[in-house]
């Protein structure tokens, strides 16, 4: 209950630092979700709808990557972008951008895997029906997206949820720097380490509220555009 009171106090009126942290969190999660979807959805559609050599191997690989431990993803990105690493010249370590890069590495397999199995199972009858009506490939693809948008939305929200809740990778590559790369999860970690458990929990409550708001907004938008 103490935590709920503290969460309320942080929000009304909003704490300046909290707003900044939420801003960084949203920026990181939105950018990484967007990029993962731009890569993962077409890839997933391709894998889900076509048959080719090595498909089952590729699917196994993607399923393995779906379980990639965030800390490992963080370490990979860290060792690539460290000062003396191959991309050290870019000077990107400890920035919000690099956190998004690590997140993309983590969520793209999730988007690809989920969307390919979605296409494989629920899009089959749509494709069959649309092709039977003589629709073009492009029109068929658009119909699939339109028909399956609830499932696709859950793929996207799943990716977003992972991104917003992730702590291992972002703390390694982002460094949890105050006013710069601190996000909700690393802030919660920090407060936990400080021993301020109820304050940390208050931040956790706010994080859940943000996640809920994003979910609600997304399904509202989809429902609004239904039957369009």
């Amino acid at each position: 209950m103490e935590s709920f009171r503290q969460a309320f106090e942080l929000l009304f009126p909003p704490d300046r630092e909290l707003l900044q942290i939420i801003g960084v969190t949203m920026r990181m999660s939105f950018v990484s979700t967007l990029v993962s979807c731009l890569i993962g959805l077409p890839l997933g559609a391709l894998i889900g709808s076509k048959n080719f050599r090595g498909k089952s191997f590729l699917k196994k690989l993607i399923h393995t990557l779906m379980g990639l431990p965030p800390v490992v993803a963080g370490l990979i990105v860290y060792s690539l972008f460290t000062h003396y690493g191959p991309f050290g010249r870019l000077d990107m370590l400890f920035t919000v951008e690099i956190m998004s890069v690590a997140q993309v590495l983590l969520i793209t397999p999730v988007v690809t895997g989920l969307s390919s199995s979605f296409i494989e199972t629920s899009s089959k009858p749509v494709i069959e029906t649309a092709r039977g009506l003589g629709f073009s490939g492009f029109r068929t693809a658009r119909l699939c997206i339109n028909e399956g948008r609830a499932s696709l939305l859950s793929v996207v929200l799943n990716a977003f949820g992972r991104s917003i809740a992730e702590v291992g990778a972002v703390s390694i590559v982002g460094g949890n720097i105050q006013w710069k790369t601190r996000v909700m999860t690393t802030a919660i970690m920090l407060e936990t380490n400080k021993g301020k458990f109820s304050f940390a929990l208050a931040l956790g409550i706010i994080l859940l509220m943000i996640a809920f708001a994003v979910n609600a907004l997304a399904s509202f938008i989809v429902r609004e555009n239904a039957d369009g």
Binding site: P125, V126, E128, T129, G132, G134, E147
Partner: protein, 217 residues
């Protein structure tokens, strides 16, 4: 006009379709019969261009419509499910009327029963013009009344555009009432080819025999 010569379809080692010669003429309605796995759907899907043949030729006209056996309801109401093909609203209303679905036209298509949805799916293909109409078991989910509506709608469509209709079926009622010719397939080959009446009364044909014997189990 559909012309098939030496058409084969293989999946790995298994040959599921092996047709020497078969042709369907314009304005003709053909029923394809045969046990499960006899190659009916495979033939329809090759003619529809949905799968590749392994060898041989299958000449079909340019404009083909294909209704899969598994019906699908698009989002939205029944009218939208038909106008999605580009047909006008008036056409949609007439088709729904013809297939006995008028009273449901404002309902969501996803809420239809299996038989209703199958008739709606038929409306969708009938809303477009074509030279070849391929139907995969168009009455499989219908009751007798629904099947009668389907048969009449298919006949009217054929009469209005003079196209070829090829449909697979397990229903002798559909074969007798809607088809000019019945082709019985077995293991991918033609077992019989003739008028429905002749074939159904020929005790030498496996499909007809199982059908007549099948009433009593």
């Amino acid at each position: 006009m559909v012309e098939i010569k030496g058409l084969k379809k293989r999946y790995g080692e298994r040959t599921v379709l092996d047709l020497d010669e078969l042709s369907f003429s314009d304005g003709e309605t053909v029923a394809l019969a045969g046990a499960n796995g006899s190659g009916k759907t495979t033939l329809l899907r090759i003619l529809a261009g949905l799968i590749e043949k392994s060898e041989g030729t299958a000449k079909a006209p340019g404009s083909v419509l294909y209704l899969p056996q598994q019906s699908y309801a698009f989002r939205g109401d029944l009218v939208r499910n038909i106008t999605i093909t580009g047909a006008g609203k008036q056409t949609a209303v007439e088709l729904l009327e013809k297939l006995g679905l008028s009273h449901l036209s404002g309902k969501k298509a996803k809420s239809l029963s299996g038989g209703e949805l199958q008739r709606l799916s038929l409306c969708r293909v009938l809303a477009k013009k074509s030279e070849l109409l391929l139907l995969d078991e168009p009455t499989s989910a219908c009751d007798a009344n629904g099947a009668a509506l389907v048969i009449r709608a298919i006949r009217d469509y054929r009469d209005s555009c003079g196209c070829t209709v090829v449909m697979s079926t397990h229903s002798p009622m559909l074969a007798v009432n809607a088809a000019d010719r019945l082709v019985v397939l077995e293991n991918g080959k033609v077992e019989a080819n003739g008028t429905p009446e002749d074939i159904l009364s020929n005790p030498g044909i496996q499909w007809a025999k199982t059908f007549t014997a099948g009433w009593k189990i």
